[in-house]
């Protein structure tokens, strides 16, 4: 009986605390969104009339509050987190380099969308429910970007993805006007990999494997298209599921087609299974090539000795802008290790692009509140031209492709990724 009384009183207390918190937040809420502009006008009847209108609505950041950006990546999951945490560090370093915009501090709200369509949808819905989120850096995986871009589009939130590379995201017929990316389009990465395989490796027969995600499937297709154009032959097109562990049946199937090379367009975990299990079906001498999805330290850790000699494509360091060296130094000082995956600089650039655009379109009213028009922000990002980013000189095209297209091929040598062709 006594314990029940305690329980009830704890519950009552909790309710009180929660309602108090809700009460404290309530006045801030109407300040947000479209309706806020007239409210701001009323507050300053004597001062000169401040108007700021935007077709898509205005975010009002009250004086003293931070400008809040969403940051979305895959921060958990087998072989996914290494890519996501690397991006998060890039974005954090960008905020560290530009901690203030128009006198307002910048804050990242970090969200984990894993690498799935469901995760992307959940996080996008969560972020659009918060009217104070100005724009989104992310998401990380094309599977997550695809549904998220739809939700952001309906709610007029602009997103700049550091690593969603699927061609469909910026194809004219499917591109959402709020979607931008600092990563390359896989229409560039696929052919670059194909060219390297055909010309430098002298490979003629290739088997492609993808994991059913939009990124992997489309990249595999782009590679196959380009490879066939060069005169090579795709002897098998296979697919596995994310989370599969036994690749031996697929590899046995592929072996029947006798390829010179396996092109894997997915991520670390399944990629490592393929690399390791090649030997189990006597295919250890067949070259394996992957893409940015596996060009991470985690792949070498997961595949061990079997990783030796595996190729992967990723952003070329040759195109890097002048700030890259200082950035890498700051990265190492802050986090105590070298970058673990390919997209840290792209995340830095994506964050910087958004902050620069806010700087251009944001206006401070006489009361010291910051107004940011959503459409104006989107247009400012779309008009990014010759922006000196870490990954190179960034200009956005009409379909949201802002990435610098240079691709370099790396190879695992003695347990390290080494660039072999730029």
């Amino acid at each position: 009986m006594r314990s029940r009384q305690i329980l009830v009183s704890v519950l009552v207390l909790l309710t009180l605390v929660v309602s108090a918190c809700a009460g404290a937040q309530a006045p801030a809420a109407p300040a947000a969104g479209e309706k806020a502009a007239p409210a701001a006008e009323k507050a300053t009847p004597t001062a000169e009339k401040f108007t700021y209108e935007d077709e898509w609505g205005v975010v009002v950041v009250p004086k003293g509050d931070p400008i809040r950006l969403g940051f979305v990546a895959g921060l958990s999951g087998a072989g996914i987190d290494v890519l996501g945490i690397d991006e998060q560090r890039g974005a954090e370093l960008a905020v560290k380099d530009k901690p203030e915009v128009l006198g307002f501090p910048v804050e990242l709200q970090v969200e984990d969308a894993q690498c799935s369509a469901e995760g992307g949808q959940t996080v996008a819905n969560k972020l659009v429910a918060d009217p104070q989120i100005v724009a989104v850096v992310g998401h990380m995986c094309s599977s997550s970007c695809t549904p998220a871009s739809d939700i952001y589009n309906q709610n007029h939130y602009t997103m700049v993805s550091p690593s969603c590379t699927a061609p469909s995201l910026t194809a004219p017929e499917t591109h959402k006007p709020i979607f931008f990316r600092t990563a390359w389009n896989d229409k560039i990465q696929g052919p670059a990999a194909a060219k390297f395989a055909y010309e430098k490796l002298g490979v003629r027969k290739v088997a492609t494997i993808h994991d059913g995600s939009p990124y992997a499937e489309q990249l595999g297709q782009e590679f196959a298209k380009a490879f066939e154009k060069l005169g090579g032959k795709i002897v098998a097109r296979e697919a596995v599921n994310v989370g599969d562990t036994d690749m031996r049946p697929v590899l046995t199937r592929i072996k029947a087609a006798n390829p010179d090379m396996i092109y894997w367009s997915g991520f670390v975990a399944e990629g490592a299974y393929i690399a390791v299990q090649r030997a189990d079906v006597d295919m250890q001498n067949v070259i394996m090539m992957g893409a940015d999805g596996i060009r991470a330290k985690a792949f070498i850790e997961a595949a061990g000795d079997a990783a030796e000699g595996v190729y992967a494509s990723a952003a070329s360091p040759a195109s890097a802008g002048p700030g890259m060296e200082a950035f890498l130094k700051a990265y190492k000082e802050t986090y105590g290790e070298e970058p673990t995956a390919p997209f840290h600089a792209h995340a830095y650039d994506a964050t910087m692009m958004i902050l620069n655009a806010i700087e251009k379109v944001g206006k401070v009213d006489p009361d010291g509140n910051l107004h940011i028009g959503r459409k104006a922000l989107r247009d400012a990002i779309a008009n990014t031209k010759d922006f000196q980013g870490l990954t190179g000189t960034i200009s956005c095209d009409a379909n949201g492709d802002c990435g610098v297209g240079a691709v370099a091929i790396s190879k695992v040598e003695n347990g390290k990724w080494v660039v072999v062709s730029e």
Partner: protein, 353 residues
């Protein structure tokens, strides 16, 4: 009259049979077409079969845990996949320590024995704790309650491991004596596959002996038959239930280490898919039935490996391996349509059902 109509000519019954027949026909047509095409050599088929046996043996080990608990408590212990995962995880830490000290390379057999023992004992403790904390207080609750608790426990364990050990992939060290392969008349058989299969079969034989030949097994069978009557005969029901969890946990822990020895990677979510597959295997074989779970596991493993190339290649379906899970679950549907109690299942009495 009414009963007749209800029993034989219901439209849903016909539709379900139709679906079953359709799946079966597609499988047969696909098989014939594939065999005619002749893309795979006979040795390829044998390889597929062996891959399936090894995978199926692990499924069977997990499925036994589901079936044992169901046989006695009539509940589905959905946290069982996480017990399997915990075995693989703990095995990893021991194996890595042994690998660094060189013990694993110099004395592989005692090292492997210790890895198995430690992993199994941790899995057993987890399983017993689970029973004591999450299931025993709910013994008299409606059947849905422990089911939901089990799902909660499963998530709790998964995220505890994530919190404790991080989300990065852990990789088992190579064990030299497990590497390599044997050639048997033109067919390469991986040593690890043989070892996984033999270990699993030995453990299953041990379990069968335990249940059929020992006093503890007798008590387990008695409780499964009728819990109240068993209690009246002087059997300590709680003790028997704990024993069941001990046996199930040990098998899952060993299964986890075996799985990790031949697949290498360990991650906190690794228990989910094998758990679901093993549950499918248990239902396939007839849940509550021990030989059924063994057979169901092997059957499912083999079908998953042979099925995609056999059924889909001939039908011209691209990248059939992606449809592996479709085969697993279609098989479940087929079995449940034509034999609702599973392949080995008995007709459930009013009391058990």
């Amino acid at each position: 009259m009414q009963q007749l109509r209800g029993r034989r000519f219901s439209v849903t019954d016909l539709a379900i049979w139709g679906i079953g027949a359709l799946i079966a026909t597609a499988a047969i047509v696909g098989t014939i077409a594939t065999l005619r095409e002749g893309l795979y050599s006979p040795s390829d088929w044998v390889s597929f079969f062996i891959f399936g046996l090894a995978q199926g043996a692990v499924y069977a080990l997990i499925a036994l845990g589901y079936t044992l608990v169901y046989g006695i408590l009539f509940m589905i212990n959905f946290a069982h996949g996480e017990i399997f995962m915990s075995g693989a995880y703990i095995g990893y830490f021991v194996a890595r320590a042994f690998d660094r000290s060189g013990f694993l390379d110099n004395h592989p057999i005692p090292a492997l024995a210790i890895i198995f023992l430690v992993a199994m004992s941790v899995s057993v403790s987890l399983a017993v704790a689970l029973e004591r904390i999450a299931y025993r207080p709910l013994r008299r609750a409606p059947r849905l309650v422990p089911l939901i608790t089990a799902i909660g426990a499963s998530l709790f364990l998964q995220y505890s491991f994530r919190g404790l050990f991080g989300t990065s992939i852990k990789v088992y060290p190579d064990v030299r004596i497990l590497k390599g392969s044997w050639k048997l008349g033109g067919i390469t058989v991986l040593r690890i596959h043989v070892i996984v299969f033999v270990c699993a079969v030995l453990m299953m034989a041990g379990l069968y002996w335990l249940v059929q030949r020992t006093k503890m097994g007798k008590a387990m069978r008695a409780v499964a038959e009728d819990r109240d009557a068993a209690a009246l005969m002087g059997i300590d029901v709680d003790r028997v239930i704990v024993n069941t969890f001990i046996v199930g946990g040990a098998l899952a822990g060993a299964g986890g280490v075996l799985f990790a020895l031949y697949n290498k990677q360990v991650i906190h979510t690794m228990g989910f898919i094998p758990g679901i597959k093993a549950f499918t295997a248990a239902v396939l074989g007839g849940i509550g039935n021990i030989p059924g779970a063994m057979f169901g596991g092997l059957f499912l493993g083999i079908f998953e490996s042979i099925g995609p190339p056999l059924f889909f290649t001939g039908l011209g379906i691209p990248s059939p391996n992606q449809l592996k899970d479709v085969i697993a679950f279609s098989m479940l549907v087929l079995v449940l349509i034509f034999r609702p109690t599973g392949l080995f299942g008995e007709v459930l009495t009013e009391k058990k059902a």
